[in-house]
């Protein structure tokens, strides 16, 4: 049995004074270092809110929908690496958290979701606002608890936070019946957590033998590439990765989860690859003879037809979660390790053995040629095109903002035309692809990083899905900005309609389909986002003319509070390049 301590400042088990269960929950949160919680009250969580109202150590932010609150908690977690915490009442409050829990599960984000539950004597009786939340969330949690005994609360909270942030991070649910919140008891706060499961207890390490084999493969490689994912960011291994890539002189392509794991402004960067990634990144991985996959999982949006992915390459796959090995792609060299340990140890081994990087000049020349010939690009128009708006924002923020997104075309264009030089700057729902993620996630990131410029680049469809969070921004004084690339359509679905369905519109027009708004028909634009913002007490501006774009973005950036910038763009732009789903690099559409 292994045990490990979490970063608590309480080294020994400690008996607390007599308190209610709800007060104990607050005490546990404080001990875990929680300084903010996104929580919407209701009957079954009211006791918890009462206890929170009596502490000044935790800021409680009231979202306007539980989904918004839970996405905000994720934004907080993604921007900092700390555990995000959200809370809701039983029944509908809890069910509204499910999307964010599933999202955190897919993208390995540390999240603790606390829910009130009906009195334990009513469980299973179809009581008012009762759902089996424990059962409902089983497939999308790292772990979960239904607290039936108040004395278990301190241990459960300590375990939950440890599980959420350790190993491969993920969401943990704690469901607490109201009578447990009300019970009075003397809590015993444990100093350590213990698990009987060996996989959960230990952080896996690579052996020197394994790592020397990887270095031997590198020494022989002619066309090596690094394919790195969100694991680098979770493990805080970006500096180790940079040293490793520079020492071995291997070009780096990230996944979308890995955006920022390696500076996109670095000469070795091939930005990100996959369905809408760089042509050169995709070609490099396709033609590589050695793929070093670190902290990524061979997602279908990366590989296309997985059987033909990197077909000529030896593949090394280092991951902290061994269940990812050979799950999507069979590889010759699976290594189960914390990527920070593996990278830092390889850097040490290279230094000790005076490792010489292989001569791969021809390979670098080839990639440089591809980069020159096929960068991300777009055609200028008399209108503002969405790519241009992202590029302008990149220039005006000098690449130094935290950017959240919704899901769709704008999400891809953001990753294409904003260069991220640091981790935790591109905050996006990638595995689940949950529309409505952007603005609440931006709120969470802004709360975590109040001194940074935080902007949600959103689509008009996605923004509408959690537009009520403008009220949270106003009332809580959270100066997150929204730049809507408003094309009056569900752009990504429209793109697929245009490419694969003969442009038949299947419910993809967001306004009046007989009078579609756009830069050439501004009177039909729907809805009026500036008026909506005004209704929430938030400053807004619509920009249609190219000549006013930069000045409008600057006004948004200079405004001290939250701001909605409605950028009207044509719906006819497609995200390029594109590898159609299930196909290969050979099928990549460049224009």
């Amino acid at each position: 049995m292994k045990s490990s301590t979490s970063p608590s400042s309480f080294p020994k088990p400690e008996i607390g004074k007599e308190m209610k269960g709800a007060e104990c929950v607050v005490e546990c949160l404080v001990r875990e270092g929680v300084d903010v919680i996104f929580a919407y009250p209701g009957g079954a969580s009211q006791e918890l809110h009462q206890a929170l109202a009596r502490t000044d150590k935790i800021r409680v932010i009231l979202p306007r929908h539980e989904q918004g609150g839970s996405f905000a908690a994720e934004g907080y977690a993604r921007a900092t690496g700390k555990v995000g915490v959200c809370m809701a009442t039983s029944g509908p409050g809890a069910t509204n958290l499910v999307s964010a829990i599933a999202d955190a599960y897919m993208d390995s984000i540390p999240l603790v979701a606390i829910t009130g539950q009906v009195y334990s004597k009513y469980i299973g009786k179809s009581a008012f606002q009762e759902t089996d939340f424990f059962g409902m969330t089983l497939p999308v949690v790292k772990h979960s608890y239904l607290v039936m005994n108040v004395h278990d609360l301190p241990r459960i909270f300590k375990e939950a936070f440890h599980l959420a942030r350790s190993g491969r991070p993920g969401p943990v649910v704690i469901d607490i019946p109201k009578d447990v919140q009300q019970s009075r008891f003397s809590p015993v706060f444990p100093a350590t957590v213990e698990f009987r499961n060996p996989v959960v207890s230990e952080t896996p390490s690579a052996t020197d033998e394994q790592l020397k084999q990887v270095l031997a493969l590198i020494a022989e490689a002619k066309r090596p590439v690094l394919y790195v994912g969100g694991g680098i960011i979770s493990a805080e291994a970006h500096d180790d990765l940079k040293a490793f890539a520079e020492r071995t002189n291997i070009p780096v392509a990230t996944t979308l989860m890995g955006v920022g794991a390696f500076p996109e402004t670095h000469p070795l960067s091939m930005k990100w690859f996959g369905m809408h990634g760089t042509a050169y990144g995709n070609w490099a991985v396709d033609q590589s003879d050695l793929v070093l996959c670190f902290g990524a999982r061979f997602d279908d949006r990366i590989t296309g037809d997985v059987s033909r992915f990197a077909a000529g390459a030896k593949i090394v796959h280092i991951d902290i979660d061994t269940s990812e090995h050979n799950k999507n792609k069979r590889v010759a060299y699976p290594i189960n390790a914390d990527i920070k340990q593996a990278l830092s140890r390889m850097n040490e081994l290279m230094a000790a053995s005076k490792f010489a990087a292989p001569d791969t000049q021809a390979w670098h020349d080839q990639i440089a040629k591809w980069k020159k010939e096929h960068p991300f690009s777009f055609d200028e128009s008399k209108h503002i095109v969405p790519q241009e708006a992202v590029q302008a924002l990149y220039e005006l923020t000098k690449g130094d903002a935290i950017i959240a997104t919704g899901v769709g075309q704008h999400q891809m264009w953001t990753a294409q035309f904003y260069d991220f030089a640091k981790p935790r700057r591109y905050i996006s729902s990638l595995g689940l692809g949950a529309m409505g993620f952007g603005y609440p996630a931006a709120l969470g990131a802004k709360v975590a990083c109040p001194d940074k410029q935080v902007i949600d680049i959103d689509g008009d469809g996605s923004f509408m899905m959690n537009i009520q969070e403008l009220a949270t921004a106003k009332i809580e004084g959270i100066a997150a900005k929204a730049m809507i690339l408003n094309n009056q359509h569900l752009g990504m679905v429209v793109q697929w309609e245009d490419r694969f369905y003969g442009s038949v519109r299947g419910n993809t027009i967001l306004g009046d389909e007989n009078n579609v708004g756009g830069p050439d028909n501004p009177s039909a634009l729907y809805p009026d986002f500036v008026k909506i913002a005004e209704g929430f007490g938030i400053k807004g501006r619509r920009v249609i003319k190219r000549s006013e774009l930069r000045e409008a973005i600057q006004e948004m950036l200079d405004h001290p509070g939250p701001f909605v910038l409605d950028v009207v763009v044509p719906y006819t732009e497609h995200v390029m390049p594109m590898i159609p789903a299930g196909r290969t690099v050979k099928d990549m559409i460049l224009k």
Partner: protein, 156 residues
């Protein structure tokens, strides 16, 4: 391929749901499933028998090992484990057929655990093949009800 997977778990709320969900969420149909506490009352052993290709089963066992309340997972290969199942069968039996059924039961070392004027209940233990042969012989008499534990397995 038929697999027998033995999962040692903490005897806690919801563990069976997590383990069985790992199979159902990946489209496996479980043939037999048995759960009971071990000599250590804080631990239970879940024995699952199912069909599936080796790569898919390898994935499931790795996923099972990640579950916080799982202590150990073993996927037994052919012959690695002693496997037994216990079966209770209620069969039609009247004055004319009872002695013939008792003879069959005797050959299979089955115990008669209940006798009524028109039926009896036999208890038999064995591997899968033995139980199948026993049931086949009883079939002509009329099987009324059947309950079985599913396979249990322990490493040799």
């Amino acid at each position: 391929m038929r697999h027998t997977i033995s999962v040692l778990v903490e005897n806690k709320f919801g563990v069976l749901a997590r383990v069985s969900g790992m199979f159902s969420g990946r489209g496996f149909n479980i043939d037999t499933l048995n759960v009971a506490p071990t000599h250590d009352a804080t631990l239970s052993r879940i024995t699952v028998v199912l069909k599936g290709d080796d790569a898919a089963l390898d994935m499931v066992t790795k996923q099972l090992r990640k579950l916080v309340n799982v202590v150990e997972v073993v996927d037994f290969k052919e012959g690695q484990a002693v496997q037994r199942e216990l079966l209770l069968v209620k069969v039609k039996a009247d004055g004319k057929t009872r002695s013939e059924i008792l003879q069959i039961a005797d050959i299979f070392r089955a115990k008669i655990v209940n006798v009524a004027h028109d039926s009896l209940i036999a208890e038999v233990t064995g591997d899968e093949g033995k139980l199948a042969a026993f049931l086949k012989l009883l079939e002509p008499f009329g099987i009324l009800e059947l309950a079985r534990t599913g396979q249990l397995a322990l490493k040799r």
